[in-house]
């Protein structure tokens, strides 16, 4: 009887983890980037149409799972090309993404790209690694490979 209950609860917990991505403004995103926290923030900019972005997603999922001192946020830029966020939600559900997913809803990329990071050309993928305590950050304007995230995190500690 107990085992049966446990299985039901586990199934409920697993399905509850399928998330709806939160649509955010630049202001909300900047709040995330600039806020002081006691952990490392890894913010990845991606899109469902971007092949190298999708290829590197497992690295971010693994990082979030393995490191309790790191909080991963995946920011989808899909709305810049497609006004319907459903494509992102379907992708998140299909891939069972565990990291927090946000969808940026902003116009005027010429303005917001620089406000997110002056080093960013606007090309996807891009990643910012921030020490939440000191504010020290690293920007990466290309696809990441195995081991590179850990190395970059060590550089901001």
């Amino acid at each position: 009887m107990n085992r049966f209950l446990a299985i039901i609860l586990l199934a409920a917990a697993l399905t509850a983890q399928a998330q709806q991505a939160e649509v955010v403004t630049l202001e909300q995103l900047q709040e995330l980037i600039e806020s002081r926290t006691d952990h490392i923030k890894v913010i990845n900019f991606w899109a469902t149409w971007c092949a190298p972005c999708i290829k590197e997603l497992p690295l971010f999922e693994k990082l979030g799972y393995e490191r309790s001192d790191v909080k991963v946020t995946l920011v989808s830029m899909d709305l810049d090309l497609d006004p319907n966020p459903e494509k992102v939600n379907k992708f998140v559900a299909r891939k069972k993404l565990q990291s927090k997913v946000l969808i940026l809803d902003e116009t005027d990329p010429n303005s917001y790209i620089n406000q997110i990071d002056k080093n960013w050309s606007g090309a996807l993928p891009a990643t910012i690694i921030i020490n939440g305590k000191t504010g020290q950050r690293k920007f990466v304007g290309k696809e990441l490979h195995e081991g590179e995230l850990e190395k970059l995190i060590a550089e901001v500690l």
């Binding site: 971007c50 810049d80 090309a123």
Partner: protein, 196 residues
């Protein structure tokens, strides 16, 4: 004094990528019709609209008709478009030379679509995205960079565009005026560099 300056310039690290005001070195690349096209071929032009572009990127697709329209509007006024495709086909098979030929034919390109096979032109320009515009102005015998960046301020909807960066820049040059917005950014695809 001049010797000192020369020494300083010689000692400074090679910085790849043009800034506004820089003189552009000549390049010669293969067009989709099999012929070679060089920047030096454009001695009679007032300038050139260089656009790093590709077949596969959704941003390139979103801007394709606008790129074609830029050439239609400005080639006869002395500012033709030259499109340069820099992606490594090993990483992006849809950007192979054969696919470029097919694309240019399907879209009836009236401007060169050049294959930057070694990626050296993209590197010397400092191109990072597709699409990525470098507007060049003829200054005597040299081609100088007048504008770098995005085509306009709305990728998904041409009708929602409120700032036509490239058109404004070319119009300014045609009027003998300074370009006011010389550098802009847009979202786009990374260039698929070899051995990424």
């Amino acid at each position: 004094m001049a010797a000192c300056l020369l020494l300083m310039v010689a000692a400074s690290p090679v910085r790849l990528g043009y800034e506004v005001g820089d003189t552009v070195a000549d390049f010669k690349l293969k067009n989709t019709n099999g012929k070679m096209v060089a920047l030096a071929d454009y001695q009679d032009a007032k300038g050139v609209i260089v656009i790093f572009d590709c077949n596969t990127c959704p941003y390139s697709k979103a801007y394709n008709s606008r790129i074609i329209a830029l050439n239609a509007k400005y080639a006869s006024k002395g500012f033709p478009v030259i499109a340069i495709q820099p992606n490594d086909p090993e990483i992006s098979p849809g950007d192979s030379y054969d696919e470029m030929v097919r694309n240019a034919k399907d879209k009836s390109y009236s401007f060169p679509y050049l294959f930057d096979e070694s990626q050296s032109v993209a590197k010397s320009f400092g191109a990072t995205n597709t699409p990525h515009v470098f507007l060049l102005k003829k200054d005597g015998a040299a081609f100088k960079v007048s504008y770098i960046g995005a085509i306009d301020n709305n990728s998904k909807s041409e009708s929602a565009v409120t700032k036509k960066y490239v058109e404004d820049a070319v119009d300014a040059l045609l009027d003998g005026k300074e370009v006011t917005s010389t550098k802009t950014k847009a979202l786009g695809c990374t260039i698929k560099w070899k051995n990424a």
